[in-house]
């Protein structure tokens, strides 16, 4: 038995489909160039992908055909040498659309394996977002904004080749820099991309994440029921309708909070979240009406509080809100919890105002969902600058 390599690419469905596909294909082609057989595939359960819903691609490579076959005999890898996360907001967890509860981004990572994340954030921020692991692992940050290269747009900002160059450095047993450069030129006919790979190979560094570092929450787990323990007729209990709740200041009951699935959370879909200015809200109800996920709780004082258990960050509320900067979408990486904005506003309105201004000051900073035509094109030179200069 030779050595089996497995690499996963965690990405945003549809938006980064092409990017993830290119990375996993090139891994296999580069390994093949160095004489190792391999396969590349998208996780079947993610298909057909949904906009922004976390999805995975896998590349499996063996040092020989028999080793590869043994790896292929599994539905999907149970552990990986490298996890590539092409959107840093996914470090909070991965919840596929046909999956069960939030899974840690580093769940499949072998002890000592490497998590590669494309991000402008510091290692401390990324480490804090990811769940703790029992064994140490390495974190490599590839500087850059999450590249959205999927079905709707293709932002050719060299994220793909920079990651490939980094892999040649981090796991040289898999393939060499030369192999991957040859594949890049052959596949994409662009020597400049091969140069980007080399620069990334040269610059990539890692830091070790210790078992006591990271999000201390226990990842979601459950036992599968046996066939005779399950209800018949493919019928499951519904989520109850909802209820009124208490105003923390006046203790008056009122409003309406829809009940939500206690285990299936939608927030890993989110790359940004609405921040609401309750002082300027005119209670027009448009955000509440238009939200496709019924994420707004109607507060006892008739305001609309986006509940972060249910918000998937689509930005419709911001688009329909008629009041300037009353609802502002802000990058998800800026937040470390899912608590109620309305409650903190009720607690201390002045402090909330300061917090709000701090969050929205970079107004327009979004990782997907562009505000005007041509916005993506403007981001490409910026990313290429980073690719050149590091």
């Amino acid at each position: 038995m030779g050595r089996l390599f497995a690499i996963e690419i965690i990405y945003r469905g549809i938006f980064q489909k092409l990017l993830a596909g290119r990375i996993s294909r090139a891994i296999v082609l580069a390994a093949h160039h160095d004489g190792k057989p391999g396969i590349s595939f998208g996780r079947y359960g993610d298909s057909p992908e949904r906009n922004g819903i976390p999805a995975k691609n896998f590349a499996i490579v063996g040092t020989d055909e028999e080793t590869l076959q043994q790896g292929m005999a599994k539905y999907e890898p149970k552990e990986v040498d490298i996890t590539i996360c092409v959107d840093d907001t996914l470090c909070k967890g991965v919840e596929s659309w046909a999956w069960y509860g939030l899974q840690p981004v580093n769940k499949l990572l072998k002890p000592g394996g490497t998590l590669i994340v494309t991000s402008l954030e510091s290692p401390e921020t990324i480490i804090g977002m990811a769940h703790r692991k029992d064994e140490p692992y390495k974190l490599a940050i590839l500087k850059g904004t999450p590249s959205f290269s999927g079905l709707w747009v293709f932002k050719d900002d060299h994220t793909d080749v920079r990651i490939l160059g980094a892999i040649a450095k981090l796991l040289p047993e898999l393939f060499s820099l030369k192999a991957v450069q040859d594949v890049i030129v052959k596949e994409w006919k662009d020597p400049v991309k091969a140069e980007s790979a080399a620069r990334s190979h040269e610059r990539i560094t890692t830091s070790t994440v210790k078992p006591n570092q990271g999000n201390p929450e226990t990842p979601y787990k459950f036992e599968f029921p046996k066939w005779h323990e399950m209800g018949e007729g493919i019928a499951i209990p519904s989520i109850p309708a909802g209820h009124s709740y208490e105003d923390p200041n006046t203790h008056a009951m009122g409003g309406f909070r829809p009940d939500r699935n206690p285990t299936f959370k939608k927030f890993t879909t989110r790359t940004m979240r609405p921040v609401v200015n309750f002082d300027t809200c005119i209670k027009c109800t448009l955000c509440w009406l238009h939200c496709p996920d019924s994420c707004f709780d109607v507060t006892p004082d008739n305001l609309y509080d986006a509940n972060m258990q249910a918000c998937c960050g689509c930005g419709v509320c911001e688009a329909v809100c008629p009041v300037k900067e009353c609802v502002t979408m802000v990058n998800e990486a800026e937040f470390s919890d899912n608590s109620s904005q309305w409650e903190s506003w009720k607690k201390d309105k002045e402090a909330y105002k300061v917090w709000l201004q701090d969050k929205i000051k970079g107004h327009g900073e979004r990782s997907h969902g562009f505000r005007y035509r041509g916005q993506y094109e403007e981001q490409v030179p910026e990313m290429l600058q980073i690719a050149r200069e590091g």
Partner: protein
């Protein structure tokens, strides 16, 4: 008023005999079962049922939601949903109409919907024929539908009542299709004993959807998406439900006999002149008429021939059937269907019978397959005699094709 009450009470208890078709018998069963929702879409020969049902509704004899859908797919979907909401439902179709409903037909057993449907058996297009062939109903044989073939209008009525009783049993909750041969049964009138409402009420409890009831007071989600972590367990549950059907069917027939005083003997297959038989023929539906006539003729000529008419195709009474067939020197199965490219190119029933015998502990007589009566072609007495000659040949160990076409111009 007192007089009217007495008349109604009298009616409730009365049994009468009526000259009706197999389709009309099914409609009468719908009335006696007090079905709540019936959907329809015309296609011959099933459309005769909808004619009779609409007449019952128009005459005020049957109080139900009667919906004519815009096609069979919707027709079966509507009753599926109504059944999930606790309504007793009836539906039906024929030939390619049944095919057009196929998606609805697959989800019905998966969701444990006790729908009762009538299939007026008809050849599948093309050509646009309308005579009987069993391939239409047989297409759902692997999906969790209970399938039963009836022979007479009386049996159609009785079996429809039994079908509700079995399908709606909480241990089962699987749909049941009653197959009636086009023309021979759907369009020909015979004298039928119509049981009293009182006895039907005693035999057939109300449909109780219980924990699976789709209702605001019982909020449930039906048919969510499930991936590879769930599907096997769901299939295993339906396997268990189908496994329980044999027992529930037996109970229902025993109760039927107790309440109505009419016995069908073995619920799964009828045996005719088998006691001392050397060889037997097998088949489903109205084929029994020419076969029984031929057997009586051949018996006079000294040939000890019997007939086994299969009623329940799903569940398939494999062990019991194999035990019974083991008594004979050879078996000839007459299929009013085809299964192109199947083992030995035999029809569906032939292959199922062979399969049942293969794993049986007892003797395994040779099984010869005959394809006959396709597209409603008459199976004549001489045809049956030819078939019997073939079965005797098999009994004597002489070689011959394992599948033979009978009544073909050649």
């Amino acid at each position: 008023m007192a007089q009217l009450a007495a008349v109604l009470e009298d009616q409730r208890k009365s049994e009468e005999t009526a000259l009706i078709t197999g389709s009309e018998a099914i409609a009468v069963a719908c009335k006696l079962a007090d079905v709540d929702v019936i959907t329809a879409y015309p296609i011959r020969p099933y459309d005769t049922v909808m004619q009779y049902v609409s007449k019952l509704v128009a005459n005020g004899e049957l109080d139900c939601e009667y919906i004519v859908a815009e096609g069979e797919h919707s027709q079966f979907e509507i009753v599926k949903h109504a059944s999930a909401c606790g309504a007793r439902v009836f539906c039906g179709s024929s030939g390619v109409g049944w095919m057009y409903a196929m998606e609805a037909l697959t989800v019905t057993p998966a969701l444990r919907i006790p729908m009762v449907a009538m299939v007026g058996n008809r050849a599948l297009d093309d050509p646009g024929a309308f005579g009987v062939e069993h391939n239409d109903a047989l297409t759902v044989r692997d999906l969790g539908w209970q399938l039963v073939w009836v022979d007479t209008a009386q049996e159609a009525l009785d079996t429809a009542l039994i079908a509700y009783r079995v399908a709606e049993d909480r241990r089962i909750f699987l749909p049941c299709a009653i197959s009636c041969d086009g023309a021979f049964l759907t369009h020909s009138q015979a004298l039928v004993k119509i049981p009293s409402q009182e006895k039907v009420n005693e035999f057939l409890p109300r449909y109780n959807r219980a924990d699976l009831l789709l209702h605001p007071d019982n909020p449930i989600t039906v048919a969510p998406q499930g991936n590879e972590d769930w599907v096997m367990e769901i299939r295993r549950q339906n396997y268990a439900a189908m496994e329980r059907t044999s027992e529930v069917i037996r109970e229902a027939y025993a109760d039927f006999e107790r309440i109505f005083g009419r016995s069908y003997g073995n619920p799964f297959f009828e045996e005719y002149e088998t006691e001392d038989a050397d060889v037997v023929l097998m088949g489903m539906g109205t084929l029994s008429t020419p076969v029984k006539v031929a057997i009586r003729k051949m018996r006079k000529e000294g040939k000890k021939v019997g007939f086994v008419r299969m009623r329940w195709f799903r569940p398939f009474a494999a062990q019991e059937l194999a035990k019974s067939l083991g008594r004979f020197k050879a078996v000839g199965v007459v299929d009013r269907d085809y299964s192109f490219g199947s083992p030995y190119m035999s029809g569906v029933v032939t292959n199922e019978v062979r399969s049942a015998l293969y794993s049986a502990p007892g003797p395994k007589p040779p099984v010869v397959g005959f394809i006959a009566g396709l597209g409603g072609r008459e199976v004549t007495v001489p045809d049956v005699e030819r078939i019997t000659d073939g079965v005797y040949k098999a009994a004597e160990g002489k070689s011959q094709p394992l599948t033979q076409w009978i009544g073909l111009r050649e």
